[in-house]
Each structure stands twice: as C-alpha cells, then as structure tokens.
C-alpha cells in the first residue's frame, strides 16, 4: 500500500519522544535489513524491524501505532548486536512499546490468563512478561 509522505504527515513530537525514550537516532539506519534477518520473530510481525525503522525515520507514528512488531519482540538483542550502524534497535522497540503502554493499554491481561499458565511459568517469565506487555 502506498504511503503518502508530506510535511503534514511527519510528527515532530514523535521523533523527540522516540529519542528521549530510546536514546537512539533512527535516521542513522540505512535499511540494510540485518535486523529483520536476525530477528527470530520476523515471521510473525506485521512490519519487519527494518520496516519499522523506515516508518520511524519518516515520523509515521500513526502507522506504527497499531502494528504487532514490538509486541512480538522478545528483546533478545540479536538485531542490536548486529546493526552495522550501531543502532540499539531493541531500545527503539522498547520505546514504541512504552508509547502505547503509557496510555494504559495492555497487550496481555494478567487477570484473564489461564491459571495453569500462571502456575507453571517460572517467575522470570511472569515478571518479564508483565514488565514488557502490561502498563
């Protein structure tokens, strides 16, 4: 689907927030796709990490808002350690997660989870999952 880009579609405040939360400059990305190739979750993502970076460069926050990419990210750091531009992409994903979580929107609802999952999962799975996927 073609995306129209004009000064009107660029959200300046999005760049500032992304920079403040992640400490990363997404404009360094030259779209090589190493992140997408390294990502174990790429297959399940609506936008690959490379595509997320591309949209972020154009300030298209409205197109990034509803996608599943950062909810599938496991913060495994495979992309960050391989990025030839030294962008910590896992931190960019975290920033995108936080921008949604801070509007009190959860990706999972602990109260709705089956009790077996809560009983069987190791504590580090629960603490990490709730930290990453709930506000």
């Amino acid at each position: 689907m073609p995306v129209k880009i004009s000064p009107k579609t660029v959200t300046e405040i999005f760049f500032e927030k992304l920079k403040e939360l992640s400490g990363q400059n997404v404009h360094l990305c030259y779209q090589c796709g190493t992140c997408s190739a390294s990502c174990p979750m790429s297959d399940f993502m609506e936008f690959s990490p490379r595509k997320v970076m591309h949209h972020a460069q154009f300030g298209l926050d409205n197109l990034l808002e509803g996608i599943n990419t950062y909810w599938f990210c496991a913060s495994c750091y495979a992309c960050s350690v391989r990025c030839p531009r030294s962008i910590d992409i896992a931190k960019v994903m975290e920033a995108l997660r936080q921008l949604t979580l801070r509007k009190s929107k959860n990706y999972i609802e602990p109260s709705q989870m089956p009790s077996e999952i809560l009983k069987d999962s190791p504590q580090i799975a629960l603490v990490a999952g709730f930290r990453k996927l709930t506000s």
């Binding site: 403040e20 939360l21 992640s22 400490g23 174990p40 979750m41 297959d43 399940f44 909810w71 599938f72 496991a74 913060s75 495994c76 750091y77 495979a78 960050s80 350690v81 910590d88 896992a90 931190k91 975290e94 920033a95 936080q98 990706y107 999972i108 989870m113 999952i117 069987d120 999962s121 190791p122 504590q123 580090i124 799975a125 629960l126 603490v127 990490a128 999952g129 709730f130 930290r131 990453k132 996927l133």
Partner: protein, 292 residues
C-alpha cells in the same frame, strides 16, 4: 574460598535443580556460594527505556546488598538475573547523572558506584577455580553424552555484559569438555528461545523454540545445556507439547549446566532435582546409565 551469591526468585522454587546442583558442586571444588542477605527480585529484564529509572532500583538494591555483605564479586547462576544485574552495575559505574539520581532516591541505602563485579558462574569457574581443577574432580565423566551448549540471549547480549564475545561458545565448551562430555557444535546456540513471549505470544514462542530443538537434533545432540530457567521452560518443559503439535519430531532434553556438573562430580542425584526437568532428561540419563 567464599563468594557472594545472588540466587534470584526462580531458583528457590521452579529451578531448585539449577541452584542445589550448583551449591553442592561448588562445595566439592572448594567454593562456598554465600547467599547475600535480604536480596530481592532483580526485575528479570533490564529496563530499556532511558527515562525509566524506577525499574533499575531493584537490581541496584541487590548490588548494594552484595557490597554490604563484603567481598568484591557477586556470582549468579540464572542468565536473566546475571544480565539484569550486570547491566544495572554498568549504569551505576558509567552514567554519573542517573547514578546520582538513583543514589539520592534510595536515601535509606549506602551510596553505590558500581564497585561490585557481577559474574556468571561459568566465568567464575574459568577465572577463579580453573577448568583443570574441575577436570581433576570429575568422578563420572560424561563420555556417553553429546551435549550442545545453549547460551540463548542474556549470557552474550548486549556485548558490554557478555560473558564472552558474541558468537563464541568457549566457556561452556571448555566446561562441558572438562566434565568429559562430547560437545556438539550447533547453529542454535545463541538463538532466542522465545523468552517472555511464552506469555504474550505462546505460539510464536513455541515456533522459535522448535527451531532450536530441531537444530540440536539435526546436529546429533543428546541434550542441550543451559543456565536459564526461562530457556529451560521454553525448550525443555515445553517439549512434550511441541511433539504433540508436531513442531518437533523428537525431543532433545534440556539440562542445567550445574546438573551436568553434579553428575560428573559423582554427587547424590538428589541435589539435581531431576523431577523438575522434563521427563525426557531422566530417560536420557537412565538410558546412558547415569544416576538420576
């Protein structure tokens, strides 16, 4: 020799097998893992948002507990605790502005400047005990076991806290060789097991875990060695479900590196708590005549 030790939450319940096998084995090697007082949950994942300091308080508090306990080193077994504590420690060492804020916020605690060295047990074994000493103490060499070293994410990434460079698996390889095992090189050593996505997106987590197990099976491994209770959960305990859903043809049992050490050192298998592993682990060991 005594060294400060941080267990973490999971090791006291669902991963008792990781902890007790380590404590007993280290005793044989002349090392007492001295649990620090009043430790708390490390937070499991290091907070990646730059403005989020409150979630860095928990790991820093543990580092302060270690400093108060005396000794300049802190050993961990769980990969996730290791990663979280080591990264919080780097922050307190290098980021003066955030360090000051955290120190001021915890006004009931002593100030902390990153003085404690956070070490994973594998690194401690190599640098402080020596793999030769480990080899000398082995009573039951694991010569019938082909083991694939599985690091996952948090032992190596990000680079600044990696126990060794990205893509190198020497520590675990030397360790397993010292135990007499045959080390199987396989391409999945540093792939993510799915981590906390077992909660958020269990199907995707199952898929990435399956790839790793299939790679290990293709490489001819009998077992995977890990140090992370979440990897063990996703790759080990999940195996019967993955076989049922035809994601994997056959299981490759997962064992903690400390359990392998305890068996090789000839310890009572009770310290290994094999009842907490996937049943495949016990079957494998029995089939090779190792005590379970």
């Amino acid at each position: 020799m005594k060294v400060n030790y941080y267990p973490g939450c999971t090791l006291k319940t669902k991963a008792k097998n990781l902890e007790e096998a380590a404590i007993a084995s280290m005793k044989i090697l002349g090392v007492e893992l001295d649990e620090i007082d009043r430790w708390n949950c490390c937070g499991a994942v290091y907070s990646l948002a730059d403005d989020d300091l409150i979630h860095k308080v928990a790991p820093v508090r543990n580092l302060i507990r270690s400093k108060e306990h005396g000794g300049d080193k802190l050993v961990t077994l769980c990969s996730m605790c290791y990663n979280t504590l080591a990264r919080a420690n780097l922050l307190m060492k290098d980021n003066t502005e955030q360090r000051d804020t955290i120190n001021r916020f915890m006004d009931d605690e002593i100030d902390y400047f990153g003085e404690v060295e956070v070490l994973h047990l594998l690194k401690f074994l190599k640098d402080e005990v020596g793999m030769d000493k480990l080899r000398e103490k082995v009573k039951l060499p694991l010569k019938d076991l082909k083991v694939a070293p599985y690091y996952g994410c948090t032992l190596q990434r990000p680079r600044e806290v990696g126990i060794e460079p990205v893509g190198s698996y020497e520590l675990m390889t030397e360790f397993l060789e010292a135990l007499g095992a045959t080390v199987v090189d396989f391409p999945g050593s540093s792939l993510c097991c799915g981590s906390y996505q077992t909660l958020g997106n269990p199907e995707a987590a199952g898929e990435v875990a399956s790839r790793i197990i299939n790679m290990a099976a293709d490489a001819g491994a009998d077992a995977l060695a890990t140090s992370c209770p979440l990897c063990e959960f996703n790759l080990g305990k999940n195996q019967s479900a993955l076989i049922e859903h035809k994601k994997i043809a056959a299981g490759v049992p997962t064992l903690y590196f400390t359990q392998l050490m305890a068996i090789a050192l000839g310890l009572d298998p009770e310290v290994c708590h094999f009842e907490l592993n996937d049943s495949g682990a016990v079957e494998l060991l029995k089939s090779k005549n190792y005590p379970t």
